[in-house]
C-alpha cells in the first residue's frame, strides 16, 4: 500500500484506507471515495486529481498523504 500522494498520473488504484480524521473521512466517503473503490489518477502535481466512477475529486497533498491505496 502507498499513500495517495506517491501515485502517478494515469495509474489505476484501489482505495484501501482513509487515515484522516473522522470528519474528513466522512466527507471523502460521501464524495464516493470509499474503502475498496477503484479510481484513476488524473494528475499528481502535489495536488491530486482523482477520478472515481464519474466523479472527479481534487485532493490536497496534505490529505492525500493520509489516504492509503494499492496499485492495480
Amino acid at each position: 500500500m502507498h499513500p495517495l500522494n506517491t501515485t502517478e498520473a494515469g495509474e489505476q488504484i484501489n482505495i484501501q484506507c482513509l487515515g484522516c480524521n473522522c470528519q474528513d473521512a466522512c466527507r471523502l466517503r460521501e464524495l464516493g471515495c470509499i474503502e475498496g473503490v477503484k479510481g484513476k489518477i488524473i494528475s499528481n502535481n502535489s495536488n491530486i486529481v482523482l477520478q472515481i466512477g464519474e466523479s472527479r475529486l481534487a485532493i490536497s497533498e496534505e490529505l492525500a498523504r493520509t489516504i492509503l491505496v494499492s496499485l492495480k
Partner: protein
C-alpha cells in the same frame, strides 16, 4: 393525486448535490415568478417561487446544494433543517424533488437515500440524461424506481417537454412517503440505530420522529457530536448510549464512522448496477484530463488563474468605462435640466444635488457589477471556478480564507461592492464572512484619485536606486499595504470564527461544460437588480443626508467674496470661493472643525476633516471637496492647481505648511484602511442580512486606520521627518 389533496397548494423543496441543475430546473418551473433573499440570519441565498399546475399554485424552494444531510456547514444544515421542518419560519415541505446528476448517479443517490429516511414524499429526477447518453452511461430507470419505491424520471432540465413531464409527475404524485431506512441497513447497524432511537432520541429529545433514523446515524458515525448536546441536561445519557452503540459495532467488526456510508453505497450499487456496470470505459486520457492536469498544477495553476483574472478585470474595466461615462453624462444632464426647469430653492437643490446625484451614485456601479457577474457566471458555468478554488485553497486557507475568496478579493481592486457580491460563490458562511470583512482593504479604484493627488503633491519625483520612481513605488506600496492588512485581518478573524467548520481540503471538480448563455445573462441582470433594489435604497438615503450636511445651514456669502471681480475667469473663481465659504459654514464644515482636535494627531486639519466626512459618499469625493474648499477653478487644469494650493497652504497662526510629506503619507494610510464608503456598508448589510456586520466593519476598519495613521505621523515626527 388523491381527491382530497387535489388542488391543495403544496410546498415543494428542490434537493440535490451542488451543480446537478437544481437552479436550472427551478427557473424552468417558476418562469420569472421568483424571489431571491437570504435565509434569515445567514447569507446563504434563498430562492422561492411558485409554479402553477392544473390551476393550483405550489410554492417551490431551491435549497442550497448539499452532498449529505450530516454536516455542520451552514448550507447543509439549512437543507436538513428545512426538510425536517425545524428551519425557522418554514413548514416541512410536502414534496421533495431530488435532482440527481445521471452522469454520476452512485454519488448522487447517496443523498437520495438520506432524504428517503425523512419520510417525505418524493420524486427523483435523473437530470443531465443527455450528457449520460453522450458519454455512454446506461441508466436503468426501472430498477432504480423499483428499489427506491418512488417515482423516478430521467430528464434534461433545459428541455421544455421534460419540464412538462416534471409538472405532470408533481400533479400525479400520491404524496405517499417512502418508508424510512428502505435501504435496509443490516445487523449490527440496524440494532445500533434502534438502540439510539429508543433510548435517547425518543425519550430525551424533541426532534420530530421523522428525523430519528438519520440523527441516530449521525450520532453513530460522528465522534464530535457531543457538541450538539453541550447544553442538554441529560448529556451523559447521550454520550453513554452513543458509546455503547459504537462499541457494539466495533465488536461486530464494523468501523462506526464508515458503516453507514458503506451500507448506503451497497444499497445504491444494487439500484444502479445493471450487469454492464455504468462506469465509464477505461479510455485513454481525455481532453478534460489534460486540461485538469494543467489547471490544477501546483505552479502552473495559480499562474493561469492570475492571467485569466487579469484579462477578466482588464475587460471589466475597459467595457464598463463607456457605460459609466454614459451614466455619468446622463445624470449630469438630468440634473442640469431639472435645475433649469424648476425654480431655484430647496426642492430644486434636493432633487438635483440630493436625489439625482444619489441615484447616479447607485446606477454608476451597475456596469462593473454586471460585467463581473457575466464573467463569474462563465467561470462557474464552464466548471473552471472549482479548479481555481482548489488551486488557491492551500494558500488561502493558511491565511484564513478559502480558495474561492480569490475572485471576490481580486474584484475588490476595482470596487469592493461587486467584490462583496461575488463572495456569494463561497459556500461556507464563516469563509464568506471573513472574505467580505477584509475585502474593502483591497485598494479600490475610488482610492486612486486621492492617492494620485497626494503622491504627485508630496512624494518627490525622484528615483530610488537610480531607476525606480519614488512615486511609483509609493503607489505600489499602498497596494501591497492593503493586501497585507487584508491577510492579517483575515488571520485574526479566523481565530474568532472557529465554529467547527473544518475547511475541506477536497472538493468535487464538476465536468467541463459549455455555459448556458441564458443563465449567464439572467444571473447578470438579477445581480444588477438586487444591487439597485437592496443597496440602492441605503445609498440614496445616505446621499441625501450627506447632501444636507454639506449644503445646510444656508449662509449669506459676504459681498467681499461675491462682488470682487468682473472678468469671466475671475468670476468663476469668485463663484468657487463662494461655495468654499458655504461649505466651511455648513454642518459638514462645522463637523470638520469640531473633529479637528481628534484628527490633529494624525497630521490632518479641519479641511481634511470635511473631506473625510463628505468622502463617505465615495472616496473620490475627497478630491472634489478639497477642490471646493481650496476654491480651485476647474478651468485652471484640475489637480495641478489643487496640488499647488495644498503645497502652499500655510497654517494662519504658525505660518508652517499644513501639509508635509509625512502628513500626506498619514492621509494615504488612513484612506487605505478606513471604511469610508457607504455603498460598501450598504451591500454588506444586504449580503450578511444584518446591520451588525457593517457596523463592526466600520468600527474596526476606521479604528485601525486611525491607529496606523497615528503611528505613522507621530512616529515620523519623533524620527524628525
Amino acid at each position: 393525486m388523491s381527491d382530497i389533496l387535489k388542488n391543495q397548494p403544496l410546498t415543494i423543496a428542490l434537493v440535490g448535490n451542488p451543480n446537478t441543475g437544481k437552479s436550472t430546473l427551478f427557473n424552468a418551473l417558476t418562469g420569472l415568478k421568483q424571489k431571491v433573499g437570504n435565509y434569515p440570519g445567514v447569507t446563504v441565498e434563498r430562492k422561492t417561487g411558485s409554479v402553477e399546475i392544473d390551476g393550483t399554485r405550489h410554492k417551490i424552494i431551491d435549497l442550497p446544494g448539499t452532498y449529505s444531510l450530516n454536516h455542520k456547514k451552514v448550507d447543509e444544515r439549512i437543507a436538513y433543517q428545512t426538510l425536517i421542518g425545524e428551519y425557522e419560519y418554514e413548514e416541512t415541505p410536502d414534496l421533495a424533488v431530488l435532482v440527481l446528476d445521471s452522469t454520476n448517479l452512485d454519488r448522487n443517490m447517496y443523498l437520495a437515500t438520506q432524504v428517503m429516511d425523512l419520510e417525505i414524499p418524493m420524486i427523483v429526477l435523473l437530470n443531465m440524461s443527455d450528457l449520460a447518453e453522450e458519454r455512454g452511461i446506461e441508466v436503468d430507470t426501472n430498477t432504480i424506481q423499483k428499489r427506491l419505491g418512488v417515482p423516478v424520471l430521467p430528464i434534461v432540465a433545459k428541455d421544455k417537454g421534460d419540464i412538462q413531464n416534471v409538472r405532470q409527475a408533481i400533479a400525479d404524485h400520491d404524496l405517499e412517503a417512502p418508508k424510512p431506512l428502505s435501504w435496509k441497513p443490516q445487523q449490527p447497524l440496524a440494532e445500533a440505530i434502534t438502540l439510539i432511537t429508543d433510548e435517547w432520541l425518543h425519550p430525551h429529545t424533541d426532534l420530530p420522529d421523522r428525523a430519528h433514523p438519520i440523527e441516530a446515524l449521525r450520532l453513530i458515525s460522528n465522534n464530535q457530536v457531543s457538541d450538539d448536546f453541550k447544553n442538554h441536561p441529560r448529556r451523559e445519557v447521550a454520550e453513554e448510549i452513543i458509546a455503547k452503540a459504537q462499541s457494539q459495532l466495533e465488536d461486530a467488526g464494523e468501523n462506526p464512522t464508515a458503516v453507514e456510508v458503506m451500507a448506503r453505497y451497497k444499497f445504491i450499487e444494487q439500484c444502479t448496477s445493471n450487469g454492464n456496470g455504468n462506469h465509464r470505459q477505461e479510455e485513454s486520457e481525455t481532453l478534460s484530463d489534460k486540461i485538469d492536469a494543467v489547471v490544477t498544477h501546483k505552479f502552473l495553476g495559480p499562474v493561469i488563474l492570475v492571467a485569466i483574472l487579469l484579462l477578466m478585470f482588464q475587460a471589466i474595466f475597459s467595457w464598463a468605462e463607456p457605460f459609466m461615462n454614459l451614466i455619468d453624462l446622463f445624470f449630469v444632464q438630468a440634473g442640469n435640466t431639472v435645475a433649469e426647469t424648476l425654480p431655484p430653492g430647496i426642492l430644486n437643490d434636493l432633487l438635483v444635488e440630493g436625489i439625482i446625484a444619489g441615484l447616479g451614485g447607485v446606477v454608476i456601479f451597475l456596469p462593473q457589477i454586471m460585467f463581473l457577474f457575466f464573467f463569474i457566471s462563465i467561470l462557474e458555468g464552464t466548471g473552471y471556478m472549482a479548479r481555481a478554488a482548489f488551486v488557491m485553497d492551500g494558500f488561502m486557507t493558511r491565511i484564513g480564507l478559502h480558495g474561492r475568496s480569490v475572485v471576490p478579493l481580486m474584484s475588490g481592486f476595482a470596487c469592493a461592492v461587486p467584490g462583496i457580491m461575488a463572495a456569494r460563490t463561497i459556500e461556507s458562511w464563516s469563509d464568506r464572512l471573513i472574505t467580505i470583512m477584509v475585502l474593502p482593504f483591497m485598494a479600490c479604484s475610488a482610492r486612486l484619485p486621492v492617492y494620485a493627488l497626494m503622491i504627485s503633491a508630496f512624494v518627490p519625483n525622484e528615483n530610488a536606486f537610480g531607476f525606480i520612481s519614488m512615486q511609483g513605488l509609493t503607489f505600489f506600496g499602498l497596494y501591497i499595504f492593503g493586501i497585507v492588512m487584508a491577510i492579517l485581518a483575515a488571520w485574526v478573524m479566523k481565530m474568532f470564527f472557529t465554529d467547527g467548520e473544518s475547511t475541506p481540503f477536497m472538493m468535487e471538480l464538476p465536468s467541463y461544460k459549455m455555459p448556458k448563455w441564458s443563465a449567464v445573462f439572467y444571473n447578470m441582470f438579477e445581480r444588477g437588480w438586487i444591487f439597485v433594489k437592496e443597496a440602492g435604497k441605503i445609498i440614496m438615503a445616505i446621499s441625501i443626508v450627506l447632501w444636507f450636511l454639506a449644503s445646510y445651514p444656508k449662509v449669506e456669502v459676504p459681498d467681499s467674496i461675491t462682488n470682487s471681480t468682473t472678468t469671466t475667469e475671475a468670476s468663476f473663481n469668485a463663484q468657487e470661493s463662494a461655495s468654499s465659504y458655504k461649505l466651511k459654514h455648513s454642518y459638514a464644515g462645522q463637523i470638520g472643525q469640531f473633529i479637528e482636535p481628534v484628527i490633529k494627531p494624525l497630521g490632518f486639519d479641519w479641511k481634511i476633516g470635511i473631506g473625510l466626512i463628505t468622502s463617505f459618499a465615495a472616496r473620490e469625493v475627497m478630491v472634489g471637496t478639497l477642490n471646493t474648499i481650496y476654491s480651485v477653478g476647474e478651468s485652471g487644469g484640475n489637480t495641478t492647481t489643487l496640488k499647488q494650493k495644498l503645497i502652499n497652504d500655510k497654517d494662519p497662526d504658525t505660518g508652517e505648511a499644513v501639509f508635509s510629506t509625512l502628513s500626506a503619507i498619514s492621509l494615504m494610510v488612513f484612506f487605505a484602511l478606513a471604511m469610508q464608503c457607504m455603498s460598501t456598508l450598504a451591500i454588506v448589510r444586504r449580503e450578511t442580512n444584518s446591520w451588525k456586520w457593517p457596523a463592526i466593519m466600520f468600527i474596526y476598519m476606521t479604528a485601525l486606520a486611525y491607529i496606523c495613521s497615528l503611528v505613522v505621523y507621530q512616529g515620523g515626527q519623533a524620527l524628525g521627518w
